[in-house]
């Protein structure tokens, strides 16, 4: 199992995340889907790093960066989502539509 195996897993993960983001209505689940997509990208980055550029650390550093950003994003995003669930008593994003046209 070489690079392609990792890439297949990564693509599957990204597809699941994208599909989940577009198909689900629950805001917390949508956040989780975003995390899935980020981690799919992370997986592909470290895989490329290991196979395409051995001895290099660029891919790994990028992965670390994305993990940090993802952590921050999750914190803020979850905080917002929890706050909005508390005020609305619902997690359905379709209900959050006060600013629509």
């Amino acid at each position: 199992m070489g690079l392609s195996g990792y890439l297949v897993v990564s693509t599957l993960l990204f597809g699941i995340g994208a599909f989940g983001f577009l198909a689900r209505r629950n805001s917390i689940l949508m956040l989780i889907c975003i995390e899935l997509m980020l981690n799919a990208v992370n997986l592909s980055l470290v895989a490329f790093n290991a196979y395409a550029g051995p001895g290099e650390v660029t891919g790994a550093i990028f992965a670390l960066m994305i993990m940090a950003v993802a952590a921050a994003e999750a914190t803020v995003g979850l905080g917002l989502v929890i706050a909005i669930i508390r005020t609305r008593q619902t997690a359905e994003v379709d209900e959050y539509s006060e600013l629509k046209e």
Partner: protein, 745 residues
């Protein structure tokens, strides 16, 4: 005390007087305030002070209601938004005709100030007049040192502007030319100050008047003393400001305020050219200092020299009221008469002549510019004289006469007769200052009347004014031994000798016209019967001593200047004094036409001198005869046979007479044309620009807002409120980017 220090003191003293008058003047003067003066007199109880009460009581004894109507409150309100406010500076009680009729509240005009009533107490004049007198003493010492000692002074006080290559110093240059101007400016200035003490009596703006006069003296002295074009320009603009302030001295009077604005705006047109000329000099030569400029001007391209000379001359045309910018000077007569005498006859209007004479090395290099100067001079001379023939306002006659005489000087400058021009400037400064002050005395004595049709017979009541004015008029008319004879005939003789025969003939005609309108003025004013209201005749009186004394003093140079400076003609003392200043231009033979008498004399290396029993004497005779004929005609028409002018007008062939008369009375419609073209045209242009602004500029701004609003309106439909739609948008966009990337690669 060294002469250098004296030179620095000459302008410094008047500015000190200005500061004094501004800072302390209002506290020193006490003018009886006239409460609710436009009211009827039965409300005496309402007056706060006993003094005011007494003023009213004294006034009631003399009914001058026919002499000058008391304007109603409505009339006052109609003339000015400020009218009727008793705290106003320009409307004092008891002004004796000094305050224009439509402004005066009609009370206390029987004497200088209401007889028996409260007298105004003036103390603010003392220091300003004293300082101007000190400045005059300094000027005379410097004058004597320069013309008799033959010295030229350069006094550098300090560097004013030093910025890169641009250096301008506060420095004074006193040579023969400046000395001649100093003589006129300081002497007439001092006499006008003395005269104003009497003339402005009763005016509540007394201190303000002296402050402006002192500021004017400072500016004018700076103008003539300055050693570079920038100082000349600063003085030039400052005298323009003072002119504006003093024309509009009675600022409640709408015509005075309008005349002040007109003078300022018309001058600005000329000054714009002058400013450009100075900038051109600096760009071309890198210096503004007179001597450095004049030394190097010859190295420039002739076209550039012509451009510079014509730009400088544009300033002179504005300041010295030459056609087509002459329109402001007659209107400037709205100011108090001492102002007309000082600024608009003897000094400021000479600034243009001085500047062209000072810049003679520039003009001498450019024959085109010389021709322009001479042509404008000759045209303005006859044009203004033709207007003066029919004017009825005594000051308007003198104003057009001033325009005409200044034009004579430009005519002389343009043909290269530099010394003759300055000679005429000096003589004219004295006799025109005298004539204006005498006319002020007439107006004062006749109770504020300026229209000569309502004067007459004044010589019995105003002997001093009459005789001094006759002396001034004889000088203006060019009658032998008086100053104007020598200076005018020198200009005419130079025109003849240099080959300008057409200009010479026009000049003689102008001399004839000048003599005619001058003595028309004398005969209408002083001879015959009083034609004004009968009541007014009882008030006619000789003016105060402070007013008559300057007239008498000025009559002395009016008689002597010509004899002293002008003999022998074309080679008098003034030629020796000014030889150095015009040395360069004379060597170039600027303005000498080929084939002329002077040209041939120079070609044979001879000195062309005056011959009494030759062409020179003949020219003198022609000039004097023209003047005498003018006086004789005026005598015939306005004393012997008052019907003659009307019959003459009727006898002009083709029935053109009445039209010509109307054209002259209406100043050849120049004002009306300007009104139509520039004033009305300006309104149309402004409306056009306003339309452009409202439609195009504002349209573009509003259009940008409209565009943003409309495009936002379309885009907002994408804002569905469904997060999935947004997510789909992001995903689609990303896919598109990827596809595009793959395709392009």
């Amino acid at each position: 005390m060294s002469t250098e220090l004296l030179i620095a003191l000459i302008p410094a003293l008047p500015i000190a007087g200005f500061l004094f008058a501004v800072l302390l003047g209002p506290r020193l003067d006490r003018v009886p305030t006239h409460h609710d003066g436009h009211d009827t007199h039965d409300s005496d109880d309402a007056h706060g002070t006993d003094e005011a009460h007494a003023a009213h009581a004294a006034h009631d004894d003399v009914d001058d209601s026919a002499f000058r109507g008391i304007p109603t409150e409505e009339e006052q309100a109609a003339t000015s938004p400020h009218a009727g406010h008793h705290d106003d500076l320009a409307n004092a009680a008891g002004a004796d005709g000094v305050i224009p009729a439509e402004l005066n509240d009609g009370i206390g005009q029987t004497g200088h100030v209401t007889p028996g009533g409260p007298q105004p107490v003036y103390r603010s004049w003392f220091v300003p007049v004293l300082l101007v007198a000190a400045s005059w003493v300094a000027s005379m010492i410097v004058f004597a040192n320069v013309v008799f000692g033959g010295e030229t002074y350069h006094v550098t006080l300090y560097e004013w502007i030093g910025s890169g290559d641009f250096h301008v110093e506060i420095a004074f240059l006193v040579d023969g030319l400046t000395a001649m101007l100093l003589l006129v400016v300081s002497s007439v200035g001092l006499l006008v100050h003395v005269y104003s003490i009497g003339y402005m009596n009763g005016d509540r703006g007394f201190w303000r008047f002296f402050a402006y006069l002192n500021l004017f003296m400072f500016s004018m002295l700076l103008l003539i003393l300055g050693d570079n074009f920038l100082m000349l320009y600063v003085g030039w603009e400052a005298v323009g400001l003072c002119s504006y302030l003093l024309i509009g001295f009675w600022y409640k009077k709408p015509s005075a305020a309008g005349a002040a604005k007109k003078a300022f705006v018309v001058n600005r047109i000329g000054d714009f050219g002058f400013g450009l000329g100075i900038m051109a000099i600096w760009t071309a030569l890198g210096t503004l200092q007179f001597e450095e400029v004049f030394e190097t001007i010859g190295t420039l391209d002739p076209t550039l020299i012509t451009v510079i000379a014509l730009l400088l001359f544009a300033g002179a045309v504005g300041k010295s009221a030459q056609f087509p910018l002459h329109v402001w000077l007659p209107d400037a007569m709205e100011g108090p008469t001492p102002v007309s005498a000082l600024i608009h006859a003897a000094t400021m209007v000479n600034a243009g002549v001085y500047m062209v004479a000072r810049a003679n090395p520039i003009f001498a290099e450019s024959p085109v510019a010389m021709w322009v100067v001479a042509s404008i001079g000759v045209f303005t001379a006859i044009f203004a004289a033709a207007i003066a023939l029919t004017q009825n306002d005594i000051k308007k006659v003198l104003a057009y006469s001033t325009v005409s005489q200044l034009a004579y000087m430009f005519f002389a400058l343009g043909i290269g007769a530099w010394v003759a021009a300055i000679f005429h400037l000096v003589a004219h400064g004295f006799f025109k200052g005298l004539l204006f002050m005498a006319s002020g005395s007439v107006i004062h004595g006749a109770g504020g009347e300026q229209d000569m049709r309502f004067m007459g017979g004044l010589r019995d009541r105003m002997r001093w004014t009459y005789w001094t004015m006759v002396i001034g008029s004889l000088a203006l008319a060019g009658i032998p031994i008086f100053a104007g004879f020598f200076s005018k005939d020198e200009i005419l003789a130079e025109a003849f000798n240099r080959g300008y025969y057409l200009f010479y003939v026009i000049g003689v005609v102008v001399a004839f016209m000048t003599a005619f309108y001058t003595f028309r003025m004398i005969f209408m004013t002083f001879w015959g019967e009083w034609r004004g209201p009968a009541e007014a005749w009882h008030h006619v009186h000789e003016s105060a001593r402070t007013m008559v004394a300057p007239l008498v003093i000025l009559a002395v140079p009016t008689v002597l200047v010509g004899l002293f400076l002008g003999i022998p003609p074309e080679g008098g003392l003034i030629h020796t004094w000014l030889e150095e200043v015009f040395h360069h231009a004379e060597e170039l033979h600027a303005g000498v036409l080929p084939g002329s008498i002077l040209d041939e004399a120079l070609a044979h290396g001879e000195h062309h001198g005056f011959e009494l029993f030759g062409i020179g004497g003949l020219l003198l005779l022609v000039g004097a005869t023209a003047g005498a004929l003018g006086i004789w005609l005026a005598y015939r028409w306005y004393v012997l046979n008052p019907d003659a002018p009307r019959r003459f007008v009727e006898r002009i062939p083709l029935g053109l007479g009445p039209g010509m008369y109307a054209a002259s009375v209406n100043k050849y419609y120049v004002d009306d044309v300007y009104q139509l073209v520039f004033a009305r045209g300006g309104v149309y242009l402004s409306n056009l620009l306003w339309w452009f602004d409202a439609k195009v500029i504002d349209g573009a701004v509003n259009g940008a807002g409209w565009l943003a609003s409309r495009s936002g309106g379309i885009l907002r439909h994408t804002q569905t409120g469904r997060v999935q739609n947004y997510g789909l948008g992001i995903a689609t966009g990303m896919v598109l980017v990827l596809v595009a990337y793959l395709v392009i690669r």
